[in-house]
Every structure is written in structure tokens, then in C-alpha cells.
Symmetry: C2
Subunit: 223 residues, 2 copies
DNA sequence: CGATTGATTTCGGAC
DNA sequence: GTCCGAAGTCAATCG
């Protein structure tokens, strides 16, 4: 529907949209999206499913109908429709969904197959090495048999370094593994993350996804 | 537009949508959104502005037209339209935008006005107390004149505890302030965050936004 | 312009 | 069902 409307949301926060012309989309699962003619993919206001909509005709001067969308938690989206410019309904059916490539899991799998790019003679102990606070992406051994924990990110930021630090602290309590060194590997490493990592003795490695993917002779960039 | 279509995205990742009926929305700024009849407000696929769309009529058997949406970075969204079920265009005009209430800045302001809810006889030194790695939300003093750094979140999670820990480490190097205690205040504190905080001697406080907002006699819940 | 941080984040996976 | 980490995160703020 395209309509002149004003909207109020009361739930996790309180928000108000003054009167303007907008697109109101209602999906098969009951969710409601209110879009303006700009911005990115995020609606100005919305209600996530599951939720139910109650529509009441209004006899007020300036309002045609009032939609009240509510979910189980009692959050409410109240849409005052002042003028309907277009309205339509379409049956879409179930969507087969999106197929992705290039995310962290792929990076992890690729690097696991090519741990030698981290250093000459390195070997993989295992992927998703378990610890009490969660699995380490890769556990490796260098040629001298020393353990190295590897944390892989698409974009390396401070919280990734913190995560690896917590793993290292835990792993180093294990006398069978200690001492365990750390490697922070990512397609891109933010300066502050690099500073923090190196301050803690963690080596930073920038990964080239296309090179890892494309060949058994990866032209990996090591900085 | 409502259309049977298939979509390919090549950019920061590679993604493919098999043929299905979907809603294609083009905004005034050129951005394109492809929605299915479910999920939440996030489209299945999209292109953010600024970007340009080139539409080419197709003489292929099963395709009416092919849309190529491209941005400055060279990321491409290619939409093969197989059948158009509905098409329409509407001028919406500029949107006055959303007015919000209830976010972290409000929490910080409210707690700053009512630091006594953290403890009898506490006082505020200042909001946004500056440190080398960024401002601490609140710096307070308890009745004995000891410094307390307060980190405020809407939802308290592990990274918030890490953030406060870094501040405390820095603040405790300042002989004029040390020793500095820590308080982690949030409307909701996740169990893992609470465990980590208390392990580090940081006190956790659950805030009641409505009570803080509603009265000078806040019925604050302290756990 | 990059870096940091919050978001009604949403989304998916594991336990 | 809950918790936790990733996201084509996006978007605002600040240096």
C-alpha cells in the first residue's frame, strides 16, 4: 500500500513518524514494514513476526483507518492512515532462499586446507578446537611442535583480539598444550586491532580470499 | 513491482536467488530491495545507494528484461525478470524522519541524574569522563570518596564487560584516581556477561528504564 | 575521511 | 528455547 500516514511505535523504545507519504508492506507472516523513498534497506519503522494486525475504520476528519500491529511481547505499532494512494495484494508463495559464498566459514575451511601459508612446516591439529568458553577456529603446530591458536575473521577488529586473548589464557592453563602462541588472521585488520594484538604478542596475518580459493599455489600476502 | 525473477549478487560476497515470485522495490535514491513474503524487515537481496540501474529488454525465451544495478565499488546486483505480475510508480516526497526515545544516551542521562540508585551517598564526577582509549560513561564517587567507573548498556553483553575492563585498567594507572572500582549497568545483563564481570570484581546493576524516567523515587531493581 | 559504537539490530547455528 | 557470534551488517558520531 502507498499511503499518507503517521506512525507510532511503543515497545523496546518509543518512536514517532510524522505524517508523510510512505510505502506500507504487509508480508504473509503478518510482519509490517514502513518504507520511505530513500535510506537503505532498513524501514523507518516495522513490526517483526509473529504479530497480528487489527484494522479499525476511523470516522475522524483526517484519518481513514487505524492499524494496530501487536506482537506477543505487547509491543505496538500504530499506523494512522490519512489517505490511500495505492493498494494491492499478491500471493508470492514460499521462497527457495539465498545461496551465499565467501563468508567466515569458507575462510576457515580454506585456511585449514592451507595452514602452511601461516608458516613453513606448520600442521593442523584440528578445526573448532573445543575449550570451556567455546571453540577456537584452528589449533595448529609449528615445526618445533609448539601449539598455535588461530582466530579467523573476515574483518579483524578489537573484539576478535579479545576473543582470541580469552582462548589463549584458557589454553595456556593446559600443561599439555602450553605455551600456546596466537595468530589473528583476517581479510582486513583494523589498525587498532593490530596494535592491541601485537601489544599482546599475537601475530597478525592478512588473508587473500581469492588466492586461497583459487589455487594450490596461493599468492598469500603476509605482512 | 511484483515479479517472478532470479537474482545474482556479486560484490563483497557472491549470492544467488533461484527463480521465485518476489517484490522488487526501487527507491528515489536508486537503491533496490528484493523482498520475499516472509522473514523480517531485511530483504533477501539489495543494493544500497548510491547506485545506478540499467534495464535491458531480453529476447530470451524465459526472460522479459534484465536489470543490472551497480554501485561505485563495482558491486553488482543482476535481476532477471521472467514475468511481471504488477508494476507501479509513486512519488513519495521527502520524509520528516523518525523521532526516538529510550536509547542508551537517554539511559546515561537518566542515571547521571540519579546516581544515588547505585548506592547511598554516591555522587557524579562527570559523564563521558575522557581516557586515552575513549570516554567512560560515568565516573562517580562513593561516600568514602573512592572512584567508580560506570559502563551503561541497554543490553549488557561480554564486549561491554571487556570495554569496562580496559577503562578500569587505564584509570587505575592514574595515582590521583586509583583505586577505581567498576559498575556494569544495563536494562538486561546476559548470564555470560554477569559471570565475567563478577569474576573480575565488577558489580552488575540491572536498570529499570521506566522507573528511572517516571519518578524521583525510582523503584530501582538491584540484584 | 577513517575509526568507533549502537541497533526496536537480524540471522543462523549450537547446546 | 536460549545463548552466542557473524553480518554484503547499517548508520551516527567523533577525531
Amino acid at each position: 500500500m502507498v499511503a499518507r500516514c503517521s506512525v507510532d511505535y511503543v515497545g523496546r523504545l518509543t518512536a514517532h513518524l510524522p505524517e508523510a507519504t510512505r510505502v506500507i508492506m504487509v508480508k504473509a507472516d503478518g510482519s509490517v514494514l514502513i518504507h520511505s523513498d530513500g535510506g537503505s534497506y532498513k524501514p523507518l519503522n516495522w513490526m517483526s513476526p509473529p504479530c497480528t494486525t487489527r484494522i479499525v475504520s476511523s470516522d475522524a476528519e483526517e484519518t481513514v483507518e487505524v492499524w494496530t500491529v501487536e506482537n506477543k511481547a505487547g509491543e505496538q505499532l500504530v499506523i494512522s492512515v490519512h489517505e490511500v494512494l495505492h493498494s494491492g495484494e499478491h500471493e508470492l508463495g514460499v521462497d527457495p532462499g539465498l545461496v551465499k559464498d565467501g563468508v567466515e566459514a569458507h575462510l576457515q575451511r580454506l585456511l585449514a586446507m592451507h595452514v602452511h601459508v601461516l608458516g613453513e612446516g606448520w600442521s593442523l591439529v584440528r578445526r573448532e578446537y573445543p575449550t570451556a568458553i567455546g571453540p577456537v577456529d584452528l589449533l595448529c603446530r609449528d615445526p618445533y611442535g609448539r601449539s598455535v591458536a588461530v582466530e579467523i575473521k573476515r574483518r579483524g577488529e578489537i573484539d576478535g583480539v579479545e576473543q582470541l586473548t580469552r582462548y589463549l589464557e584458557l589454553l595456556n592453563r593446559d600443561p599439555l598444550l602450553a605455551p600456546v602462541a596466537g595468530v589473528f588472521a583476517a581479510q582486513e585488520i583494523k589498525p587498532q586491532a593490530r596494535v592491541l594484538a601485537e601489544d599482546r604478542g599475537i601475530r597478525c596475518v592478512v588473508l587473500d580470499y581469492e588466492a586461497l580459493k583459487g589455487s594450490d599455489d596461493p599468492g598469500l600476502r603476509l605482512f
